[in-house]
């Protein structure tokens, strides 16, 4: 028996969405959690561990929320397979914990009836029991437990109430009850109806409806879902979020950047000039800095998303935006990732996690980098300042501002068109029906929000960073090696692989009006869009492009580029995938190189065509 005592108990948490399942998971495992991916799918595998009072280790698996074991999405398939014990590479759970919102038992009872068929021991955790009590909802726990053939524990995850009892019950079940015979099969429509009738019977027999039902949610919805007021409030929330990204995150990002520049300077001052210094300063330190610099934006965007999600508002935002997003074949929930992408595509791509359905999510990820991110602003400002006259149009509009607006609008419009094309040509009819529960409003739990925020940040650093950093070093290596020969007169980059690549692709880019300097600048510009400005400074041998250098560069561009070339370069930057970090994050979020490759190819093709049309259109207008 010693073996059985030592073996950890494996619990799996199953439940409807919005039942506080993740809060319960956090309450159980605290900080002893790790996040990975299930083999072969993009579904996140969240597992934590705790030590029971008996000293026994308990592993807890937090499974994706579902209404049924009849899986409808990759997430729900993971839940089904984990419960049935047929998930490749996973040991089946000893005990299933079915998590229920005590104030909304109807649907979870039906799920519990399905779990009963599986034959594996399970506990029903009636979470948010305090709210049920406050509403005067009475549940005959003994009677219900007897009928379900499973013990019931009441919990308040956010206050850590009932956790010990849940652990004790699960441990007892694991020791006493062997897994029975699995008679579960995918229910037919009539079997679902039958289960509903049974759930209804159980409700009638053991649950007395609340004496003081919740009316707050209804009253809040009267305002937040109002056709006019609701949209105004949504816009206001989005405006605050957008402001926060620029007002809070950008200074922090600048600070991180400055910190790493200073660190680079420090390291440069103590290492001998040469390859090692260049590798350390321009390759590694700059590379790590360029990963961490995204963190403030990611954390700000996710802080908002987690609060909106936890409070129950996210479903309302999706409701309000569904018709508009739906016109382009997007899910209502795509709105927030796409808005976030206007700060940076990286938090945007990560935020697409709020969309459950695979095709809806992939479409959103694919168009996210078309939104005008903040890294494009330095490029746009430089080119517009250098080549677009500071004149007034129709008496009131500033021409430079108008071009800037046009660039933003092109990003949004082309994104919606691409989404529409993807949905009508490639994934025709793949759109899922929009049906979802509007959860009861509640105050977000600060501990949960912070824990999930921390988790997002760590995932980005450890997993996305692992892809981004080598790509950054690669871009550095291409721009550095080989060194210029003795007595070389041109800028060093001209002799590097980047220079070779630039000269090699120049004939390809000549039709869109790019000179060789621009072609070269595109290679280091892959590190991040704003790096193109510095790279142009390097190839035009301006030196430092900050402050006065920027004006010098602008005047050089003004003298050497035609307006057609400048417009073509702008068009290129609307579409081109000039950001390896984004491709790295897409690789991480889609769990493979397929979708980054698709993104890279379609965006390059689009950029080329757009620049070609812009260049020759401008030449035809006499701007060549």
């Amino acid at each position: 028996m010693t073996d059985a005592v030592l073996a950890p108990v494996r619990l799996a948490l199953v439940g409807n969405p919005n039942t506080g399942k993740t809060a319960l998971y956090n309450a159980l495992t605290g900080s002893r959690q790790k996040v990975a991916n299930y083999a072969g799918v993009t579904v996140e595998r969240k597992e934590g561990v705790l030590t029971a009072p008996s000293g026994r280790l308990i592993n807890v698996l937090d499974l994706p929320g579902t209404y049924s074991l009849r899986a409808r999405s990759p997430d729900e398939a993971v839940t089904r397979d984990a419960v049935l014990g047929r998930l490749a590479g996973e040991t089946p759970p000893d005990v299933i914990v079915c998590v229920a919102d005590s104030t909304n038992l109807r649907l979870v009872l039906r799920l519990a009836l399905e779990l009963k068929q599986v034959g594996r021991p399970f506990v029903l955790a009636l979470n948010m029991y305090d709210i049920a009590q406050r509403q005067g909802l009475r549940i005959d726990l003994e009677g219900l437990a007897r009928e379900l053939g499973a013990p019931i524990v009441t919990t308040v995850a956010t206050r850590k109430r009932g956790i010990e009892e849940l652990v004790a019950q699960a441990e007892a079940l694991a020791g006493s009850m062997p897994a029975g015979v699995n008679v579960w099969h995918e229910p037919s429509a009539s079997e679902i109806r039958g289960a509903h009738a049974e759930a209804q019977r159980l409700l009638k027999a053991y649950v007395r409806p609340p004496e003081r039902p919740d009316t707050v949610t209804g009253r809040i919805d009267n305002v937040l879902l109002h056709p006019v007021a609701g949209l105004v409030i949504l816009s206001a929330i989005m405006f605050v979020m957008f402001q926060a990204v620029f007002a809070w995150a950008t200074p922090l990002a600048d600070l991180i950047e400055a910190g790493f520049t200073a660190l680079g300077g420090l390291v440069a001052s103590v290492t001998p000039d040469g390859l090692l210094r260049s590798l350390l300063v321009d390759g590694l330190i700059a590379g790590v800095g360029s990963v961490l610099v995204f963190l403030p934006q990611i954390l700000t965007v996710f802080l908002f998303i987690l609060i909106l999600e936890d409070s129950g508002y996210m479903a309302r935002a999706a409701f309000l935006m569904d018709r508009i997003m739906g016109a382009a074949g997007l899910h209502g929930r795509a709105f927030i990732p796409l808005l976030s992408s206007h700060a940076c595509a990286i938090p945007g791509v990560m935020a697409a996690r709020v969309i459950d359905q695979k095709h809806d999510r992939l479409t959103t990820i694919l168009i996210a980098p078309l939104m005008t991110c903040s890294a494009r602003i330095p490029v746009y400002t430089l080119i517009i300042g250098a080549l677009i006259p500071r004149s007034t149009v129709w008496g009131v509009l500033n021409l430079q501002g108008l071009v800037m607006f046009g660039l933003y609008a092109s990003g949004i419009v082309s994104g919606l068109i691409v989404a529409f094309v993807i949905r009508t040509l490639f994934w025709r009819g793949a759109s899922e029906p929009f049906m979802m529960e509007l959860p009861t409003y509640r105050w977000p739990d600060p501990e949960n929000v912070l824990r999930n925020l921390w988790q997002r940040g760590m995932i980005f650093i450890s997993r996305a960073g692992r892809i981004i950093l080598p790509l950054m070093v690669l871009v550095w290596a291409l721009s550095t090696f080989p060194y210029p020969p003795e007595g070389a007169t041109g800028p060093a980059i001209d002799y590097s692989f980047a220079g070779l690549i630039g000269h090699f692709i120049q004939p390809l880019l000549a039709p869109i009006g790019f000179n060789w300097q621009m072609s070269i600048a595109l290679v280091p510009g892959m590190a991040a869009r704003e790096v193109a400005v510095a790279a142009l400074g390097t190839v035009y041998a301006v030196g430092d492009v900050d402050g006065a250098g920027q004006a010098t560069l602008a005047s050089i561009l003004h003298a050497q580029w035609s307006l057609a070339t400048g417009l073509s370069f702008l068009a290129w930057y609307v579409f081109a995938p000039q950001c390896v970090a984004t491709l790295g994050v897409v690789r991480r979020e889609t769990n493979g190189w397929l979708w980054p490759t698709v993104m890279f190819s379609y965006m390059f093709a689009l950029a080329y065509v757009a620049s070609l049309a812009t260049y020759w259109g401008a030449v035809a207008l006499g701007w060549g």
Binding site: S188, T217, H226, F319, E432, F434, P439
Partner: protein
């Protein structure tokens, strides 16, 4: 909760998709048109998904909110839960509405 006194009168069954804000009633049939498709989802699958969300014969529904554009999607009270769905999918749900209950 329910005020079913047996005295209210109900309309003949109508589709939930045709209802306006404030109307409430009892679901009498959940049946997507046999050859209809809802995006990636065929009639049988849509029926099961509606059932799983709680759209089942005998459940009470009330239209709470309508979207700003084309009054779509709709938010309904479904027994004691709130659910949002598009009118296209709501067409599969037939309801006997209370007369005189419209706002």
């Amino acid at each position: 909760m329910s005020t079913a006194t047996g005295l209210e009168s109900f309309t003949a069954p109508r589709r939930l998709s045709q209802a306006a804000r404030g109307e409430r009633g009892v679901i009498v049939r959940v049946a997507p048109a046999a050859d209809s498709r809802s995006g990636a989802v065929d009639a049988g699958e849509l029926e099961r998904r509606l059932l799983e969300l709680g759209f089942v014969e005998g459940a009470t529904v009330e239209i709470l909110h309508e979207g700003a554009f084309g009054r779509d999607p709709i938010a309904v009270r479904l027994d004691d839960a709130r659910v949002a769905l598009r009118r296209r999918e709501a067409a599969a749900v037939e309801v006997r509405f209370e007369t005189g209950a419209t706002a």
